[in-house]
């Protein structure tokens, strides 16, 4: 019940963003709002088993969203660095690849997903496989320096941020 309600609210926010600029009640017309309420209730009923599958509501805390927005700064910086790194490697063709393993010790599904996607978008690393039980990540590293790397070397301090956001 609670999960259906929260899913419906999330869907309603997306619907409002899609139909912005149609009328006078703030930015929306009354017909759009009524239709949006109905449609998002339907979407909440059909999508309730997926969005909060583990009955885990810790992402509803607004402080975590503020941390998430603050996280975008270092993330975009690391992403720009990654692209310059890849540019260097495309032009010179100098690679030294390998697959290494790190243990970030993150518990939640959302946290490990965020870390995996952040790693994929940042310098020289690509998440290949995930151990379902221990949440260990296997990472393809384009320029292997050590065979048993520290977490800091690969993740740019992302796990600290993600622990604050998602745990």
């Amino acid at each position: 019940m609670k999960s259906a309600l929260i899913t419906a609210v999330a869907a309603f926010v997306l619907y409002l963003i899609l139909t912005v600029g149609t009328g006078n009640i703030l930015l929306w017309s009354s017909a759009e709002i009524i239709a949006g309420v109905f449609l998002s209730i339907v979407a909440g009923i059909f999508g309730r088993k997926l969005l909060f599958k583990n009955e885990d509501y810790r992402m509803l805390d607004p402080v975590r969203w503020l941390y998430f927005i603050a996280y975008l700064g270092p993330f975009l910086f690391a992403m720009a660095k990654a692209n310059i790194d890849v540019a260097y490697r495309v032009i010179t063709g100098r690679i030294n690849p390998g697959i290494v393993k790190i243990s970030p010790n993150l518990k939640t599904d959302f946290g490990i997903t965020m870390l995996g996607n952040s790693i994929t978008l940042t310098p020289g690393t690509l998440s290949v496989e995930i151990d379902e039980k221990t949440n260990d990540l296997y990472i393809h590293w384009i320029n292997v320096k050590h065979k048993e790397p520290e977490i800091e070397e690969i993740c740019n301090g992302f796990p600290k941020w993600i622990r604050r956001i998602a745990e």
């Binding site: 495309v90 690849p97 994929t120 296997y138």
Partner: protein, 119 residues
């Protein structure tokens, strides 16, 4: 002034998109190609879309309200792109490793040493 900003965004985007596509030809195996294509094309598409979003917001201020809708819808498309693209890359890399394509010239392969991971 605002035109210059848009030109810079578009130029950066085109440069990184070209780099990603060129790396697709140049690199030797699947994983390094994924590095080039995923990172560079996502970054380049972010910048070209930012050009469009800046254009939309600027003309929203100047001309008419429909340009604001253009900017917002472009932002939603960009958000969906940023969420789905690394996930697709992860799925391809995992499938490639499981189907027996191993990285060429690899110094270390911890995943192969560990053997098959059961779900």
């Amino acid at each position: 002034m605002i035109d210059t900003v848009i030109y810079i965004f578009l130029a950066v985007g085109v440069f990184f998109n070209g780099l990603g596509s060129f790396g697709l030809i140049r690199f030797p195996d699947v994983y390094t190609r994924l590095h080039a294509s995923t990172k560079c094309t996502t970054f380049g598409s972010i910048f070209t879309s930012l050009g469009v979003i800046t254009y939309g917001f600027y003309h929203w201020h100047v001309d008419s309200a429909s340009y604001g809708v253009l900017a917002i819808h472009a932002f939603i498309a960009l958000l969906a792109l940023v969420i789905t693209n690394p996930t697709g890359a992860h799925a391809i890399a995992r499938a490639a490793h499981r189907s027996g394509v191993y990285p060429k010239r690899a110094v270390v392969d911890k995943l192969k040493e560990k053997g098959d991971l059961s779900d």
